[in-house]
Every structure is written in C-alpha cells, then in structure tokens.
Symmetry: C2
Subunit: 209 residues, 2 copies
Amino acid sequence: MTPPPNATRTTKPPYHHGDLPRALVAAATRLIEDGAGAQVTLRAAAEAAGVSIAAPYRHFESREALLAAVLIEGFHELTQRMEDARAAATEPLAALAATGLAYVRFAADRPALYRLMFSPACDKAAFPELMDAGHASLAVLQDAVRDARRQLGITEEAVARVALSGWSLTHGLASLYVDGLLADARPAEALDALAQGMIATLIAGLRAS
Amino acid sequence: MTPPPNATRTTKPPYHHGDLPRALVAAATRLIEDGAGAQVTLRAAAEAAGVSIAAPYRHFESREALLAAVLIEGFHELTQRMEDARAAATEPLAALAATGLAYVRFAADRPALYRLMFSPACDKAAFPELMDAGHASLAVLQDAVRDARRQLGITEEAVARVALSGWSLTHGLASLYVDGLLADARPAEALDALAQGMIATLIAGLRAS
DNA sequence: AGCCGATGTTATCCTTGTCAACATGACCCC
DNA sequence: GGGGTCATGTTGACAAGGATAACATCGGCT
C-alpha cells in the first residue's frame, strides 16, 4: 500500500523515485489512521515512503503543509461521497437527506482523518487550497438544499443559511462521535439512525416555518 | 498577573511558592488565547508562571495533562454559563433556547479555548475528569430538554436523543465559526442570529413530529 | 531542634522539525 | 552521444521542546 495504485493520477509522473508527493501523503494518511493522529511525524512519513528525512522538504514547505495535503485529499473524498449520495437519490428531499447522511458516514468511516480535518493542527487560513476544498464540500450540500427549495418552502436567499444549519447538525453529530463523547451510538447503525432522525427533524422544522 | 489573585481558591493553598498548579493553568490558558493555540509549550507556561522548566512536572504528569486541566476548567465555565442562561429564563422552551445560545456564545467569546476543548490535541479518553466535565455540560442541556418535554411533545426516553440533536446543532455551528469556515457571521450578532434561527427551526421540527 | 517529604532547580537526554551543503541522475540541446 | 542544468534526494548539523534524574530547599511535625 506504500506505492499507492495510480488511482486518480492526474499529474504526470514526476521524477525517478516515483511519485514521492503522493507516496508521502499516502504514508501520512496511513500513519494518521493507524493511531498517530495529529502527532504524525514527518520522519515517520518519510521512512514509510522509503526516503530520507529531508526529502519531504522538496515537495512540502513544512510538516504542516504535508498535513494540509492529506486533509485536502480528505475533503475531496468527502465531497465525492456527498455528490455520489446526492446523485443516487431520485427526489430532492431524499437527495438532501442522503447528502447529510453521507457526511456523517464519512466521519464514521474515517474518524482519525475527519478529526484532523476540523482540528487546529493545521491552520486552514494558511492554506487556501485547504479552505477551498472545505468550501467545495459545503457547496454540495448547498446545491442539494437549492434543489429542494420548493419542498422546503424556502427562498433562494435562505439557501445558504439552511445549508449551514444542515452542515452544523451533521458536523456536530460527527464531531461528537469521533471525539468519543457519544457513549451510545457505538455501532455504526446507531449513528446512522441518529443522523437520519436528526436530519428528518430539521427538515420538518424547515417545512413548518 | 504571574501570581494569580486567589480568585476561586477552593483547594487549600499548597506550599511556599503559592498555588503553582493554578498559576500554570492560568498561564497556559492565557498563552493559548494569545495565539499559541494547541502548540502551547510547557516551557512557556512555566516561564510565565515564574518557575523553572521542570517544576510543572511536580503537578502535572505531562504537557498533555496540563492541557487537560485547562480544558476541564473550560468545560466548567461552559457548564456554568449554560446553567446561568437556563436559570434566567422563566419558560421551559425559552430556557432551552437560551441554553443553546449560551453554548454558542461561549465558543464565540473564547474561540481558542473552545477549539482545544474539541480537538485531538488532548486525548479525552486518557483523562476521565475531562470526559466527566464534558458530560456535565451535556447534562445541562439534557435537563433543559427534560423541562421542556411537554412543550416539545416528546417522551422521557427521547430526551437524550433530542438533547443530542441540540448539542450537535450548536456544536456544529460553533465549530464552523471558530474554524473560520463561516466567512459570513463575522460580527458576533450575526452568529447570535444564526444560532437563534437554527435553534428555533429545530424546536419547530420537534414539535411537528 | 531535627527529621521528612513535598516542592522547585539544574543538568542532561531524546525526539523531531528544519536547513545547508553536497550528491545524483534525468532530460535537453548541440 | 556527451555535457550542462536543474529538479530531486542524502548526509550532517542545529535548535526547540518534552521528559527524567540528581540535587537543593523549605515548611511542618515530633
């Protein structure tokens, strides 16, 4: 798994070692999910990628920059999952609920990564690309809300605010889950059920206004 | 400010230096809020408290333990604020909304601290007291929900689940705010308005079910 | 008064982020 | 094909910071 299969190979293969940037991101991701969490060490990532300690600096300005790259990829995956879920539904309200559910499921599937994506371990303001990736995820939810505007009975200007409500709700639930503050909701099914219930309640509240 | 005035002196004054544990927690809190964030350094806290580098180890097992103490105090303050807000309202539904609003305001007032309180910088599972402090805050919200059970039209067994919804919503909003992902909602008033609207929507949704 | 243990200090080690100086080898151009 | 050039990778070193050990100090108890 160290040499990641050229899954979404968009950039041309760089130099003689292979794709070191990608290898480093993959190694760091793996380390994070294997328990290192926010304390991933640049040295460990370099070693896992099979290069020397200083090699990463040819591709990343700092440890934090590597972390940012990992998180950006995380946001891309999140965006993808939300888009897929949204596209699979046939009806706007169902699509909206599915989008929210996909969000929570992502957090449940990749808790360590999700945690870092919303942690001060990486100063988002310092990495515009990271901020953009985050906003791209939010945009999916906004689109889903816009599609369900009629069913929700809201105006176009309210879309952003309503999307924010949805994001807050799912993000809050997901955060509590990955932080272990949800003693119950242990099996993933329980979390799923909780998320679905909450989303339904919020939608009901919107329609009642 | 190095020798902190014995503000809420509850433990007996220890030894000859004064109350070093408290001084360290205060110093660390200050450093965190002055921009150090999760990268507070044990050395800096020790220096700010006017003691040598190794002194903190007489009172805290590790840097993380000091951090945990800071966060515990943060949760206590959060609990207090929620309780005050809840007590000030005269009607159950208003009390519930006020409790949620107090939560968001705490995050807005002390963003750096709030951030750390829900970050992987400190492994909550390793500090039972920290976990307890967090649960105490949640308990306030649960009590507020229980008081409004009739108005919300929910059963006693649903209380925990509904409280969780409310916590998720407010925590999500607060998290997005302190993470700077809310480009809008800059002035605190906007955040207040957003929070109130969301809480009202959620309550409406609960009553509609 | 004199002991004891809690508290604080000094010296030191180890990990880790970061940088500078050097090595290498792929690609381009003639 | 051969040499130049620049991106890429390596070695070595430094500084910051967490952690510990050995020593120093001071208050309270007997």
